[in-house]
Amino acid sequence: DKIRALDPMLKKRDDFEDMLEERRNSSDLRYALRCYTPVLYKGLAPCKASMLKSMVLQSDQLHHVIGQVSRETGRAADDVQEEASAILEEMAHCLQLSTVRFFAFTLSKVFKTLFRSICVNEEGIQRLQQAIQEHPVVLLPSHRSYMDFLLMSYILYTYDIALPVIAAGMDFMGMKFVGEMLRMSGAFFIRRSFGGDKLYWSVFSEYVKTMLKNGFAPVEFFLEGTRSRTSKSLTPKLGLLNIVMDPYLKGEVYDINVVPVSISYERILEEALYAREMLGVPKPKESTSGLFKARKVLSEDYGSIHVYFGQPVSVRSLAQGRVNRCQFNLVPRHIPRRPSEEIQSFVNDSAYRLVRAQEENMVLKPWVLLASLLLQNHHQDQTAGQKRGMVLEELTAQAVWLRDMFREYGAFLHWPVVLLDICVGGQVKPGEPHSTVTPEEELLSQAVIVLSCASYRNQGLHVFLRPALLASAINAASSNLKQEVFNSFSFLRNMFSNEFILCPGATVQDFEEACYLLVKTGALQVTQQELLVTERGQRTVAFLTSMLDPFLQGYQVVCRFLCEEATENLTEKQFVPAVRKFIIKHLLAGRLRYTEVLSSDLQKNSLAALLRLGAVQKIKGRIKLSKVTYSSVFLLRTCVNLTYNC
């Protein structure tokens, strides 16, 4: 059983069906107008948006908070009630079948132009259908593109499944027409931040809970909170997950089914945008006219999409033995309370588990492997001062080697029978930037290409993250002693836990899993005392280590920046531009190997990690090295040393 838990190769996965195929062979109009009769939770009749609103406004919880706010601020209760009503008005969805049909029609056209195929695991759809009838359902898709939620609704409509209501960021509301269209297709809008606003929080959480508890519709939101610009999963945000788990914990429903959905794009619509954004070109504000300008994407090929509906996860079984639900017995359940530590840690762990479940079912295309290899090669070339690229045969041979390794590690690979029919002959390497003026501009435009490339590589990171951490730990440790390697693994893992999805408190499991995989592939021998890299394991370990190298260098450079250049008055806002400047300087001077470290995502993550580890402090919005304590100096040193070692 333990082996089963450790060996990802033993995971069974469903087959895919291309849902666009039927769209190419039959009328879109008929499809958009067809009879749509989804099964509902316990055969419930769907609830009108207006009725939902009044249920929320009449809820005990909201009444309580309105009373509280009114007492605290001295405002009339009616006044506060009105505000609550306005908040709800701004927030609420008004799902209309006609709009959904409109989208079904237009999206069919758009999807057929953009994508070769949209593959869905139909068994997953069947499981979802079953889950919806049993308990309220929460859908948790991965988030890589704006396309995600339209795509989700499109798929659910196609398979005659209850349309979800979707938590969307307020930024969409900027696009007047589109915002309303989305609202009518089931989106509800939440402000990006409402930290202290009790009333807002209360309306929001009651709204979500009412929909969920009564099973009116599946609730959909993105655990990652925002689109990942790097194709790596983001550390989960807990706010909404807390809200949707609450009805179970308080016994208001018997159970809740949470369904992780993995959406893998062969090529993400926004890929170039993301790279620019991370290099400091600000992201364009969402606007309707911008959307129309963006229509030129319609002429490009975005390959295929794989959507995998994962195994529904019962919240009840997640909470079994972890949460004592009696804690809600002594206070009326409608009085909002901060979740107890027990519940916070439960929700946090669950969130990580769910993001990992998303990761596991991400479909990887050959490009992911090729990008990984090309990037490594590119860096080697750069160090050697060459611009050679790779011979196709060599790339192919390496790709096959890597494919087998990926498979051993349990990756969900989609490997076409005929490979590389689109590859040009001769040598392959990441594209050449066009001739530009300054070296800095040249560097940045090259960085765009490298970051785009990296985003392909990142899709596969989760597969060998743990073995890679172990490989790096073996390199960094001063001896082969198991305990030393573990310590260094544990340090790396801890440091990178803002960067990658590493479940809190699972260091030992992760270490065991990594050892298991490396041993299984013959790269490592584990004795009582020691971990020894085998002869044939050298290549694997080298590959794995160099996968993490760019990240290590990124963290190192941030540390160096903070040690060498950070002024007294560095604010959080100034941090990224200042680091960027520092990095560009060093890159141009040839003192840094990886252009990738220009990524603001990497820089922010390393700052967050240093803050978390206490090496750096934030005082009144300013970033400061912790008062020279032993631990912070040690931390920074270790950080820097580690990277030098690697």
Binding site: G251, E252, Y254, D255, R325, C326, P332
Partner: protein, 634 residues
């Protein structure tokens, strides 16, 4: 039946007494106790004025002469399928006795997937050789003999007192399996006898387990298997006299061994009642009610046992505990009665109790209301509780139980009645649009002055109407209450055909009622599935009592165990899970069944560490040698 009474408005007490007799226990032809002569000498009842003669005595020393040794109730009353395959209830004691119940077979087959071909008959006779030989304490025995208090170490007597009515207990009996059983049974005749027995037990270090009606469903009567001392079962059944009635203060002083039906019947003869009617009242005893904090169906008018008790006398190893007066309320530190009530036989034997009595109600009327769904029904009960206008009894059955009730309808004699029934069904489901798979029914019992009853009735029906309720007649209501008396018999029928089940209860705040009902029922179904039960279980509930701040909820749970190797274990796992679910949903560990040994593991969480410590220290003081060693509660 109750509607008959509407004929005589200012009816004489005699007639009502007769009628009540029929309602509760009109069957009593108490078998003559041949041994009574032996006992005649000893106890002089203190207040001999209303001392009850022994003719009406229901419970003989040899209980097995009239009651089943391996099932519920009287030997002559049971469900069976006759040669035509129709269900029938035998005997003459109940309203249902001698009747054919045509719907029961289909219901059993449909609900459980049971089959009349697949029988699981019980071991017919008790084989004494299978019973562990008695461990007798010679010295104790000798001294006991000298007191003249009757006792027995006959295997049948001992086995009868080794169990309550938990499923696992009855299941084992039916298989002819006996665990640790008491080594002897004693039958004290009065308070002083008990004092003597307890003194002797202390002197000779003998374990005493008090035994009242034997209707426990908490494993409270189970002998701890690790007990090495001689175990004496102290059967209180012969202490069953009403010692006096005080009409000025409306109290009665009663020996604690009296069973509910005798107490009511005897008080009725004088025109009074206690109004305490737990579902087990045919067999359960006053002392048992006190020891478990019992609750009666009509508590809305008369109160629960803690409201009814004025004075308690209990014999403990430290001596006799009692209060010095009968003031209606006292501020004299923590109420010592509350150490006694709920002590579950761990501190001593309750011997005499002074209880409140009330004049018998002039008028009784049943009623029922059909609601479109359970949610509406609960909302109505909540409103009734809020307005504090609950009738003597108000119970809300869920849809499954409503169907169950229907299945128990006896064969109707006239075409007209069956036509009327059809018309009613048509009206409710077709005309009013109630979904037969969602509707539920509340049963009502009103009591008091005729005029007030009618007024009260109107008030309650008006509230019900606001929640979509439709009056559904007296007959439905009455049948609902009858069901509670026969349902225990029905379990024995199920056990003949691979079906096992039980009920359990809790109390819960109003805002949690719907959640707890839904979640516990769902948990039962899920657990059955997970544990490999091959057929969908019956998982149903009813709200049986209302309070200002919450309600008492009863769950019934049964399943067909064909294909399971250890059905009782599966049953226990499911019940355990259901109890966890109850607790996780804000329900109490028990509303009135008590803790016993079955629910002990949750006591600490229920009353906190300090709470357990308090109870322990009381036990340690009162009974340092654990003479009352049934190991209940703590």
């Amino acid at each position: 039946m109750a509607s008959n009474s509407s004929g005589g408005g200012s009816s004489d007490r005699q007639r009502i007494a007769q009628q009540r007799l029929r309602i509760i226990a009109g069957h009593l032809q108490g078998p003559v106790d041949g041994d009574s002569a032996i006992l005649a000498a000893e106890c002089k009842a203190q207040g001999s004025k209303t001392d009850v003669c022994r003719e009406g005595k229901t419970v003989p020393r040899r209980r097995q002469e009239i009651m089943k040794w391996n099932g519920w109730g009287y030997s002559d009353s049971k469900f069976l399928f006759n040669k035509k395959g129709q269900a029938e209830f035998t005997g003459k004691r109940y309203r249902l006795s001698g009747m054919i119940i045509p719907g029961l077979k289909d219901w059993m087959e449909g609900t459980f997937g049971a089959n009349l071909q697949h029988k699981t008959p019980a071991t017919p006779l008790l084989t004494s050789s299978a019973v562990q030989p008695a461990t007798l304490n010679k010295a104790f025995l000798e001294e006991l003999k000298s007191t003249g208090i009757p006792f027995s170490h006959d295997a049948e007597d001992r086995v009868f007192r080794a169990h309550g009515h938990c499923l696992h207990e009855i299941f084992a009996l039916r298989e002819g399996k006996f665990g640790r059983v008491p080594d002897m049974v004693v039958w004290p005749n009065c308070h002083n006898d008990v004092v003597k027995i307890v003194e002797l037990a202390c002197k000779h270090n003998v374990c005493v387990i008090p035994y009242g009606g034997g209707t426990s469903v908490s494993s409270a009567l189970e002998c701890p298997p690790e007990e090495t001392r001689s175990i004496v079962s102290l059967d209180t059944s012969q202490m069953n006299r009403i010692l006096w009635i005080d009409e000025k203060n409306l109290t009665a002083h009663v020996e604690a061994g009296i069973v509910g039906q005798d107490l009511e019947r005897l008080l009725n003869e004088s025109g009074y009642c206690t109004g305490h009617e737990p579902d087990s009242m045919e067999f359960s005893s006053l002392g048992g009610w006190v020891a478990t904090r019992a609750s009666g169906m009509k508590k809305n008018i008369y109160g629960n046992i803690e409201d009814l008790v004025i004075h308690i006398r209990m014999v403990t190893p430290r001596g006799v505990i009692e209060k010095s007066c009968q003031g209606p309320r006292m501020s004299t530190g923590p109420d010592i009665h509350h150490f006694i009530m709920g002590s579950e036989g761990t501190l001593g034997v309750v011997t005499e109790v002074t209880m409140k009595i009330r004049p018998m109600p002039e008028y009784q009327k049943y009623g029922s209301v059909v609601f479109p769904n359970f949610e509406q029904g609960v909302a109505c009960l909540r409103e009734v509780a809020k307005q504090r206008c609950a009738p003597a009894s108000i119970r809300l059955m869920d849809n499954e139980q409503f169907k169950f009730g229907h299945a128990l309808k006896p064969q109707v004699s006239s075409i007209f009645t069956s036509f009327l029934d059809g018309l009613k069904t048509f009206y409710i489901t077709k005309f009013k649009g109630f979904d037969p798979n969602r509707l539920c029914v509340a049963t009502l019992l009103f009591e008091g002055d005729r005029e007030k009853v009618l007024q009260h009735e109107k008030q309650v029906y008006d509230i019900a109407a606001k929640f979509g309720g439709l009056a559904a007649g007296e007959d439905n209501g009455q049948r609902g209450y009858m069901l509670t008396f026969v349902i225990a018999y029905l379990r024995d029928l199920g056990m003949d055909y691979y079906v096992i089940g039980e009920s359990f209860e809790t109390s819960v705040p109003w805002d949690r009622v719907l959640d707890i009902c839904r979640n516990v029922k769902a948990r039962i179904i899920q657990e059955c599935k997970d544990k490999g039960v091959q057929f969908p279980p019956l998982s149903t509930c009813r709200v049986t009592q209302t309070y200002d701040t919450g309600a008492c909820v009863y769950f019934y749970f049964a399943f067909n165990y064909r294909g399971l190797s250890d059905p009782v274990h599966v049953y226990e796992q499911v019940e355990h899970a259901a109890r966890e679910e109850i607790l996780a949903n804000g329900g109490s560990l028990s509303h009135h069944h008590g803790v016993g040994k079955l629910r002990k593991e949750w006591m600490r969480d229920t009353v906190s560490n300090v709470g357990v410590g308090m109870l322990k220290s009381v036990k340690d003081y009162v009974d340092p040698d654990n003479i009352f060693g049934n190991r209940n509660l703590l």
